[in-house]
Symmetry: C2
Subunit: 239 residues, 2 copies
DNA sequence: CGACACCTTGAAGAGGTTCAAGAAATGTGG
DNA sequence: CCACATTTCTTGAACCTCTTCAAGGTGTCG
């Protein structure tokens, strides 16, 4: 494709708190600026990397929204996550030096390309960065545990409620509304992530609307009653 | 409890190929021997660590068999994995300096305790170890992607077949039979891992027996027709 | 404006769960 | 070492949730 590229620095990036370790001194920051080789733009619908491609870099999302998905040999497809600004994609590629999933932009996006060899060598010099890397990978493992709980033990309503709450929470952490969001993905993609068919996702949205807990107009969702959603996810625990 | 402890060295451990990076020189090996602080025995049914406990160390399993599980606030329980000799547990604890799951021994076990601070400082000196750590975490992420595919898109028979094939494959890599295995976990634990009820697991075993693809006598399983199981997991792809 | 992708809703059907009972294995204490 | 209690496993029948199939509606983009 056309890897439209721009040279940049982390040290004065407004997403630094999301991507980078805190409390670095000026010296370390200068080193870390070398971590990002270039930026790369990815058009909506295009892929950042694909299953089978050689792994060279991790990617920090600057703008835009991605999905990652894997395909079984017989063509079934599973969305493994949705990623937004400040989040890292590509960790799957480290084990075997090639990517095992696809990362596709769901809206025009820009990412910081961080060659993994840079990251490893810098990590040896900057303990804070090393620890940060470990935390990021551990965080991803823990996130996936949560998805396993969702897929393994929750019913459709619980899954969708948990999904919505998780999305707004992450958006809110980025300065967006606590109650309004625009879905960047189709019902089918939501369904794939949640282990449901798109019709079930649609019906469950309709049910939430009937109950008065959310308003839905296509991709635009407004959460009316957050607690109601919380109660759905967590029948007992919450009040 | 009683952390019955013995001092030991990785350099002459027979599981080294499973836990440790390959191709280390004598010098590095000597350093790495310092990584394992002590060994610890865990009795069947006892836990190695529990959700909420402070994270200090990763654990390499020397002998025995573990399950890891998380609990939702309302008491639901999800088994997130089964671990055997040479595998590492505890990665979940790195993000927040405390464990987010329980690790319980399903048979008497012994683990190597590797204080995470040792690992991090050694990693800075031994690039091969650093890269090994990254690979291990990435491998765990990729494994969980596979579980998500299983939970999100497979039917009961496919899940159980995939589970059995995965287990024998790992056991075989450790010198055990390709076709016979003893399940260390209950039907309920299998069900929890696979997102099924224990009755469904039992029924599905019975179906496999009827079909002549496996023999089952309680926890003892003999796989008669591996290809049949493969075809179940992968309807199209395989011949 | 027309074509296409996406979403909603209904009705029928399948797969898995729930509830229940009994059998088999395992562990414990006398 | 045996008897009993407990846990684990199997199987049946009714039920329920989600899926499948189908049709029509809505939105979007060239």
């Amino acid at each position: 494709m056309n890897p439209q590229s721009i040279k940049v620095a982390c040290s004065n990036c407004n997403l630094r708190e999301l991507c980078m370790p805190l409390g670095l001194n000026a010296e370390d920051l200068e080193l870390i600026d070398r971590m990002v080789a270039v930026r790369r733009k990815v058009k909506r619908g295009a892929s950042l990397f694909r299953n089978g491609e050689v792994f060279t870099s991790l990617y920090a999302i600057r703008t835009g929204f991605f999905k990652t998905s894997i395909a079984s040999e017989d063509g079934r497809d599973q969305v493994t996550g949705f990623q937004m600004a400040g989040e890292i994609v590509g960790l799957d590629g480290i084990v075997n030096d090639q990517h095992t999933c696809d990362a596709v932009a769901l809206e025009d996006a820009e990412v910081c390309v961080m060659p993994f060899e840079h990251i490893e060598s810098l990590s040896r010099e900057v303990p804070a960065l090393q620890h940060h890397m470990h935390k990021m990978m551990s965080r991803e493992i823990v996130r996936e545990h949560g998805v396993m709980l969702l897929l393994g033990s929750m019913r459709a309503e619980e899954r969708l409620a948990a999904f919505l709450l998780n999305l707004v929470q992450r958006l809110h952490a980025r300065g967006f509304s606590q109650s309004e969001l625009i879905l960047r993905m189709t019902r089918e993609e939501i369904g794939s992530y949640l282990g449901l068919k798109l019709e079930t996702v649609s019906r469950t949205f309709s049910k939430f609307v009937e109950d008065g807990s959310v308003e839905v107009k296509q991709r635009h969702v407004r959460i009316i009653d957050t607690d109601a959603l919380r109660r759905i996810v967590n029948p007992q625990a919450l009040l």
